[in-house]
Symmetry: C2
Subunit: 708 residues, 2 copies
């Protein structure tokens, strides 16, 4: 049982004394309370006692004089290291006492401290930091130069389970060192993980512990002992961010995203005005709910009766879209609150991003007061295609599909829209989050989780206002639907001044990297990847296993596709003999079976067809990567159609596996790739990387969701 | 002066004795001969001599009994470590002798060995391996776990210059350790580099040294000492590959690539035959030289007089294109040789790739005998657009430009053709290398180096038959023209069994990585990158300095572009105050100057124009990255045209800087990107990565070529 009284007492004392750090003995008390093993020690009052203490804790031991009058213990001959036997301990006691008396005859001697001496094993570091966004994190790294020079450290949200802690041991670059190098013993992984768990619980239980370092921890085959503990505290806790319950979020977001009626505040008949564009998009987009233009003077706008205020509107309004200058927002928002409108879409800029944080604070307060959820400000608005809703001043978008995308930045939002239109990517929603004064990524996750129109959620963000909330929701949602995030600002992360080791090592981006991994979020490395994942991942069925087989007409593509498999964490199936023989039946004698299956160039459609069919039929194969080589014998569209046919033939028999394709050839492969994509096979011309990246993302998701 | 006689004598002895490795004393002799510092040692016959030896080499020293009769020196009390003073040395001598006599009174005692004792400093490893393709390589890594567990090691072609050796110290991940960590001293970089140079010269001078390890080397602030040396030899030298001189290559390749007359062996009138496609491509491609179809029976093919054999052709022939089955190639090739044709383009497959290495050996011998250079076999042929020459059975390609591409694989060749056509990328040449029985990448480099139609050389390869030759040529050519290589098979590199440390660490791909870097080759990470670099890099002028500035309408793009700059080794200029103020004059008050210069969304064309003009005019800025955000105020084509105008306006004043652009917006940005590309500005829709990668490649080249 954890003895929390001890911890509370220590922390109260530190607080009362206005200190920012614990002393070593105080640190030890906390460790003891949480079962974090530290070196054993005891005070001996006699030679016999020293010998028996040492014997109990196990040799070797260190012996040190304990006297308030002797500060320079070594100088006084008051320290003996490497005491190996009971006899040495007894003799050591006598010698230390004698030396001490010789050094200072008047010294008040309390006795001799006997402490377990740590030797051998692997030095590691276990620590904790408090991140502004993610809160308490626990860290693990290999001691000494590996963390200091190579910054080889990994983080997890605290608290962690034993399983998560074990995963940390494998997440450092030098993980092999824990398995025993140069003939050494492997460390006791369970003991090390247990210590990580205990640290994570300690910092989680006491928010005032802002940083913690166990450095070094000696990890051996028998266990783990923390040789030194350093704990930094911060009693000035910041006020927790307002977080509605998940049910409240679902209710509000459903009103906002699927409104029965919308008001356009600042609606306009004048071409070129934002309020005009929004009106037109609502109307031309085919939105079927009520549309209420709001304007101080107009009676009618684009054929709709206009109102002076939302309060004049007779019916209920779910979403108010703002297209008025920033300075008028607080007044209009208050009216929305009084009207009981649950959501405000704040297109205007001129708030925090423009050096007006007070104005933003003001609207946040109004929103909170009346329980109006705010999207933005400083956004392009949003699209929700199942309702034909284009609540934006950008051009309308109407290709319905299953990808829900969002962006923090308007520019990236425009790129999403452009790419979607160009690639004919079906979307369920595109949402601008802008300044994220209220609604942010986790609100969207919560909504899209229960939105049957959405199969994948892809988000661009520069920061997470509440990383902890995001992580908690993402962990749950990613089990059901892939969550892909492009985290921008990876490299500009300023290293904050920090007073502990672990703190200094906490490069912001590494935290995002590790937490995303922990909660099952797929990280996109580039804007194009975010977009391609959003397009390709929902097209693919979930694989039933890790065995990937490449079937290629071009040996050269096969090599590049293999490289891409390794880069994307995909496992090239090692081909069983019988299957190898089965493939060989279909390919020329000089073709290469094994994996990749190289059917060689110049083969007729039947060869592609037979080998792909075999790949789909055999239960041991879980996914196919196709490499097509343009020849006149099997032209691009012939290939595209035969692949689709085989896929459908197998689907009719209940066989569905992910298939992706790379098409090498003249420009006709572009049309063929489009055709394949439309038939459920993500396919790319002139690229061996993209198809494998998309398949890799599907696998990452399936693994994170526990489906593999 | 290096004493080579000693080395030769040692190696002869090892060879005579049929050994594969040198003994430690033999290794020391080689080290001494090449000035590689090893611990000093000497044999003392008296206490005084021991003291004086120790004093000369510097304390601490180790002392050891030397007696053929005492094998277990420690057991005999015959070893003392950590001898610190002359007195200790004297006493140590006497004690060791006394102990030895007590241990074995009859022992024949030669004296006491005094050896320099190495302590402290940084342990590093210096070694050498012999690579099948690159030959002698020198390696450097940090000792102990860093090389063993993290494989943190770097390679260079041997021999290296002092400067190259110094660059190795910065090329390991843990480079900071050499600069002194935890308050330690930095190592003596010059001394360490000097040792690397000496090792590289030793292995270069003696090809029979197949592997060498100095492990560990103790590097301190004062110098470097190799504590242990291990040398493995292999006297079975493989025959050097035939390498024509650079002049011979230039002469032959010019004949082949720019022939005055070509023969098509296996020309055919029959639709669908390869010999028919080749003929049509030559004719329809617009080739102006003579075309001689060769066919055993036909009198005329597609309007050209046909011949039974090349030997019947009245005029000279420069290039013979083979479109006949493999088994007929040797005969026809012999005729080509007898006719004195300098080049054969061997389209047929059915050689080494199809399990017929003997047939390939046969044609190589014929080629060598008659001095016919062979392209292929197993290729699609080649294109050389300045001569309107499509010597291939693939579709014709005629967009002239400055990129010369080649591929080892036909599939990748087709992707090159397709991408080129789709992107309207002008090329000077596209060449298939296939089995590379003779002509390979370095022959092409040598030709394209002196080909004024070529400004960039982009090559796909799976291996280099002669990496050493490639590296030597690439080192020279890359100073003049960018050389980009996509090396496939990065991850399949089988770790060969090796008997030394360095050998075991030599992951094949790491060698390619380091050698490419050493000789100035830009490595493409993906097929798409190879293609985009070939398209974009020659479009850009060479930058005059490292200062890159981002000007963006979308803050979100600015963040992603900044990330991409870091990823691609580009330096975001830190903005001087006066320049910051100058930019601020053009942008809204809430826009962010600094770098990126965020002009904010919704700005009119003038704002883009003014800031871009300023960026081009100011001498301190060397390159611009533009982030465009689609708005109705500045539509995509308006942006594209204004950028081109400003660029031309500045060009008229003699100002030329690299500009690349990322366009975020609706699909109209695709047309705008095309327009920009055609006006010398590599521009990409929906991607913040690609433009920066292209600029990064230009910088890598300029740095490697010594232009920055």
């Amino acid at each position: 049982m954890l003895d929390k009284t001890v911890v509370r007492n220590v922390l109260e004392k530190v607080k009362a004394e206005g200190r920012e750090a614990l002393t070593a003995p105080e640190g030890k008390l906390l460790c003891d309370a949480y079962g974090i093993t530290v070196p054993q020690e005891g005070l001996a009052g006699s030679a016999e006692e020293a010998a028996s203490l040492a014997s109990e804790m196990g040799f070797p031991v260190v012996m040190k004089i304990v006297s308030p009058d002797i500060l320079h213990k070594t100088e006084a001959g008051g320290v003996i290291v490497g005491v190996e036997t009971e006899e040495e301990a007894k003799a050591g006691y006598d010698k230390i006492i004698a030396n001490a008396k010789a050094y200072n005859a008047k010294a008040d001697i309390s006795g001799v401290q006997v402490q377990q001496m740590l030797t051998g094993g692997q030095e590691v570091i276990i620590g904790s930091v408090t991140d502004g966004s993610f809160g308490k994190l626990v860290a693990f790294g290999l001691g000494g130069i590996l963390v200091e020079v190579l910054k080889d450290i990994t983080f997890r949200l605290a608290p962690v389970t034993q399983e998560e802690a074990l995963s940390m041991l494998d997440s450092v670059q030098a993980a092999d060192m824990l398995k025993g190098v140069r003939g050494g013993d492997p460390v006791n992984r369970e003991a090390l993980a247990d210590m990580i768990v205990r640290v994570s619980e300690l910092v989680n239980d006491y928010p005032e512990i802002s940083e913690l370092d166990l450095n070094p921890v000696f990890a051996t085959k028998d266990g783990a002992i923390a040789a030194d503990v350093r704990i930094v505290v911060d009693f000035a806790q910041k006020a927790p961010r307002h977080r509605p319950s998940q049910d409240e979020i679902v209710t509000a977001m459903n009103k906002i995203m699927r409104p029965k009626a919308v008001a356009v505040i600042g609606a306009s008949s004048e071409e070129g005005k934002i309020g005009n564009s929004v009106m037109k998009n609502l109307i031309n987009g085919g939105y079927k709910g009520e549309i209420y233009p709001v304007h101080p003077k107009a009676d009618e706008i684009l054929g709709y009766k206009a109102y002076k205020s939302v309060k004049d509107v007779p019916g209920e309004i779910d979403t108010a879209i703002f297209a008025i200058p920033a300075k008028f927002v607080p007044g209009a928002l208050t009216e929305c609150g009084e009207k009981g409108i649950p959501g405000a879409v704040l297109i205007p800029s001129g708030f925090a991003e423009a050096g007006e944080p007070e104005l933003q604070d003001e609207i946040v307060k109004i929103g909170r007061k009346y329980n109006v959820r705010l999207m933005g400000p400083n956004i392009y608005g949003f699209y929700y295609t199942p309702e034909n809703l284009c609540a934006t001043f950008c051009t309308a978008y109407d290709v319905k599909g299953s990808a829900a995308l969002s962006s923090q930045s308007g520019g990236i939002g425009m790129a999403i829209i452009g790419f979607s239109r160009s690639a004919q990517m079906g979307v369920s929603a595109i949402v601008g989050l802008g300044n994220k004064s209220d609604i942010d990524e986790d609100d969207l996750l919560t909504f899209f989780e229960q939105d049957d129109n959405t199969k994948i959620i892809a988000q661009h963000c520069e920061d997470l206002k509440d990383g902890r909330a995001f992580a908690e929701v993402a962990r749950r949602v990613s089990k059901k639907k892939p969550v892909v995030v492009l985290k921008a600002g990876r490299t500009s992360a300023g290293a904050k001044a920090a007073s502990s080791h672990t703190g200094a090592l906490a490069g912001n981006d590494k935290i995002y990297e590790d937490v995303f991994q922990q909660v099952g979020v797929i990280r996109a490395r580039s804007l194009r990847q975010l977009l391609e994942f959003a397009r390709g991942v929902p097209v693919l069925p979930t694989p039933k296993g890790e065995n990937v087989v490449i079937i290629t007409g071009a040996g050269g593509s096969g090599v590049l596709l293999s490289d891409a498999c390794v880069d994307n964490g995909l496992e090239l199936m090692s081909m069983p003999d019988d299957l190898d023989a089965a493939f060989r039946k279909f390919i020329p004698p000089f073709g290469a079976a094994g994996n990749p299956v190289d059917i060689t160039g110049g083969e007729p459609p039947e060869t592609y067809k037979n080998t792909i069919r075999l790949g789909l039929q055999d239960d041991r194969i879980h996914s196919l990567i196709l490499g097509y080589w343009h020849t006149i014998v099997t032209p691009p569209m012939v290939f595209a159609k035969l692949v689709s046919e085989v896929k459908e033939e197998m689907a009719a028999k209940g066989i569905e596996k992910p298939i992706v394709a790379s098409l090498a050839g003249d420009y006709e492969v572009e049309e063929a790739s489009e055709y394949l994509y439309q038939h459920g096979i993500p396919a790319y011309p002139y690229s061996t990387e993209l198809p494998v990246e998309v398949l890799g993302a599907k696998y990452k998701w399936a693994r994170g969701a526990g489906l593999l």
